[in-house]
């Protein structure tokens, strides 16, 4: 089983229209590695989610199987085969 990364449709223009990415077994053991993998193929998408320091942008939230990674291990939060990494923009803005 692979790790699935799902991004919001508003980011699809940065990834050739794709919003879902299946990462091969053992290619990503953490949220950071999962985002690294997606960002290698789609660097603009990667920069939308994290800044040039590699830090998660303030109004971007990530859930691993429904749990907010900011309440877990942040970008170091482990991921395992079969899990879903869900990227969602937070409620913000005027």
């Amino acid at each position: 089983m692979s790790v699935t990364v799902v991004v919001p449709s508003v980011l699809a223009p940065a990834s050739g229209g794709r919003t879902q990415f299946e990462l091969p077994d053992a290619s990503a053991r953490s949220v950071r590695e999962a985002l690294d993998a997606v960002g290698r193929d789609y660097p603009v998408l990667g920069r939308r989610i994290r800044d040039e320091r590699g830090e998660l942008r303030r109004h971007v939230n990530i859930y691993v199987d429904g749990e907010d990674v900011r309440r877990a291990g942040g970008l170091a939060t482990p991921v395992a085969a079969g899990q879903e990494v869900l990227v969602i923009q937070s409620i913000a803005g005027g």
Binding site: L11, P43, I49, D51, E52, E55, H59, A92, G93
Partner: protein
Amino acid sequence: MTTPRFLLAVGTKKGLWLATSEDRKTWTVAEPQFLMQEIPSVAIDTRGGRTRLLVGVRSEHFGPTVVHSDDLGATWTEPEQGSVVFPEGTEAAVERIWQIQPDSEDRPEVVWVGAEPISVWKSTDGGATFELNRALWEHPDRDRWAPGAGGAAVHTIVPDAEDPEQVHVAISAGGVYRSTDAGASWTARNHGISAYFLPDPSPEVGQCVHKIAADSEGRLYAQNHRGVYRSDDRGDTWVSIADGLPADFGFVMLTHPRRSGTAWVVPLVSDWERVAPGGRLAVHRTDDAGESWRSLDTGLAEPDWNTVLRDAASVDTAEPVGVYFGTRGGSVYASADEGEAFQEVIAHLPDVLCVRAAELTAPPAGAAHDAGQGT
């Protein structure tokens, strides 16, 4: 694709609007682009035989970037690795692109960016990619700079038209800085500018400069947090030219591209009352380098209690010069006669953050190809 004679770019809190005109009186406004993204900076670069639009785009969620278009906004290009990106080791990330400033006519490959956090960037590939200016980033004055209300940024860059080694920048809130060695070093240049909001009434560092501009003979003009100034010695010393204005607060400072001594400001009552005096919005013009001012309000709405932000005003280079500005109430005004009379060309936009206008001469990229297909 035919080339319109004039292009007007309006960046707002929630998107970019482009308008075209043949006579600067009738404007065709296109559908918004980058909708729901902030556009704090835009440039229309007409050098080098092409027209390139450069746009600072910022998403509240997904961060800032710079994109460019060589076909008047039909398509946009963003480098995969980004164009303004702090290098490793700086431990910084770009927050907002405040200024995109093409260099002089004879250096068409050079474009400058001013950004938040306080930083200057230089492109030598026409604005596709930019390199951080290390001298300003590591400047010993940095710990004495403070964020203005809008953020800590380099918001204005004024390359010298004659001397490629000389460039001025304006920092909120740091003041005016000058380099005479093409950005290798920077020195504060605020002598004569007063600051009521600091313990030292005339500090060299820490000034809250709102906008600077250079005229065709290299005189500099500054709209400060309070105070309007001119420098006849490229920033070494400044003198007040606020007499004759209804107020010395404001954000805008524009200069004539060919006629030295002509400049425009938009006075607001004060920092505690950031509206035009009595709600009567007016552009003020000097034709004698600030010795006297005329109020120009023909065609402007009255009352109008909205602010005009520092980059929400622009001139073109046509004859006579066109003057343009937008308000936080979403009105965009244009004058085809140097401010004598304005007309509202767009209304009810989101807050206008930046306005640029240009007379176009070069056909947009793809124009020749399109014409070929039609024959």
